[in-house]
Symmetry: C2
Subunit: 146 residues, 2 copies
DNA sequence: TGATTAAAAGATATTAATGTCTTTTATTGT
DNA sequence: ACAATAAAAGACATTAATATCTTTTAATCA
């Protein structure tokens, strides 16, 4: 496993807001949680973080809910990973060896470092908007419930 | 984070047994845990699994401890990952999207699949013996305590 | 046989991630 | 102001990974 459930919830949640927001201004937690089969209150906490970070907007009260903003589509997956609190992710030696770094590399350091770089690049260069643009029709199925 | 602590303990533990075993026939849990700064009893449980899988040998009683066997150096890192119980690892979509597979791929499916493949290949083709052979002198520092 | 040693096994504790439930706060319309 | 709505916030429960402690089992030696 690479990403936390929280990350998956955040990503699918934002994507759902993007999609459902095309036909209405506000998308409510109830609907998102129901359609994506995500625990409602837990999703609420995850979304709260994204609101604090400015990735999506929210409004309380009647006709309230969540909506996308200028930042939403520009947000990279790596940012989303950070916001949903992956503790260190790729920071230390994935083999969990000590004192492993470029100067004193473990035997697999360079190979792993290459993969890590590719992975990091992919996550940094891919934005939420990219995911929307690519192949929307099939993709809609991907974020929905099983 | 990619691998569990258990995996790291297992790998460092086996490597320590390999190294320390050069000068004595049996390496004891006490010594391994102390030198690698790993919780003793927890390491014991991890090592127990490896013994059950035949990756290392163990002997109870005085002059007992752990020792390597024919299988030790041939064991791949992927096998070690499995033995230390990563639940699913790379099995489903890392973005945690549903219904994501080769036929109905999520937008990042192919890029991620490529990285996953590289990673899997690396873990499958690298054995514990490989880690020992590569650059032992510096490497010894890597598995030891901070 | 009995004492000692060390792994194996079992029971329990801690911690972080996840999940659930209740209360509070902000917004809207009457 | 009041009722209704929906997110925010807080309290608590569950689960899995990790950690600790105790008891049991197997081996050695005197």
């Amino acid at each position: 496993m690479i990403f936390s459930k929280s990350f998956g919830y955040a990503l699918r949640g934002v994507l759902y807001i993007e999609m459902a927001g095309e036909s209405k201004s506000m998308v409510q937690l109830d609907e998102i949680a129901r359609e994506l089969a995500i625990p409602r209150h837990f999703l609420g906490k995850v979304m709260k973080k994204l609101v604090k970070e400015g990735v999506v907007n929210s409004l309380k009260g009647p006709f309230g809910g969540f909506s996308i903003n200028e930042k939403t589509k520009e947000t990279s997956l790596l940012q989303l990973v950070d916001m949903t609190g992956e503790p260190e992710e790729f920071s230390s030696c994935v083999l969990r060896l000590r004192k492993c770094n470029a100067k004193n590399p473990c035997p697999m350091h360079h190979q792993i470092e290459s993969l890590r770089q590719q992975w990091q690049t992919l996550l940094t260069s891919t934005t939420i908007g990219d995911l929307i643009r690519k192949d929307m029709p099939d993709f809609i199925k991907s974020i929905a419930v099983i």
